[in-house]
Symmetry: C2
Subunit: 89 residues, 2 copies
């Protein structure tokens, strides 16, 4: 059983996934919209979204027809709290 | 070529490696001293130290006979800077 902070950090350890979060920080987007600027296929983006969703960093509204992805910043607070301990160095 | 922030986050995505950093934040330690409380073999701890060293999170003084490991918090500043962008959520 992987702890939640480890799962969050592993999900963030990829530049594409961090770029997806940055885009979602400006508002909800569909998978197709997310795939556009990355020059990646929808299935490739979907794989990254699964990792982000598993880590609790995004939520997806499966009820809405366009299934928007939304940023869920909760796990980032845990990262911020952890790194705060090292700010004095 | 993996970017430095991804390399740092991947190195941090392990509870043992974060525990090693926490101990080094209180002062330099040898590999043997680091291995003690983890109930891990020295080679197992050495593997984790290699990942941390590769990410620039620790330095090792190879000149000193006891080869102390020291925290190098530089890459953590990049993590703190990145996560700061999400504090408003």
């Amino acid at each position: 059983m992987i702890d939640s902070l480890s799962s969050t950090l592993a999900a963030l350890a990829d530049p594409t996934r961090r770029a997806i979060l940055a885009r979602l920080s400006r508002g909800a987007l569909s998978v197709t919209e997310l795939a556009e600027p990355f020059d990646m296929s929808v299935p490739a983006v979907s794989k990254h979204l699964k990792v982000l969703e598993h880590a609790g960093l995004i939520t997806r509204d499966r009820a809405a027809q366009w299934r928007p992805c939304e940023l869920h910043a909760g796990p980032l607070k845990e990262v911020a709290h952890w790194v705060d301990e090292y700010r004095r160095f």
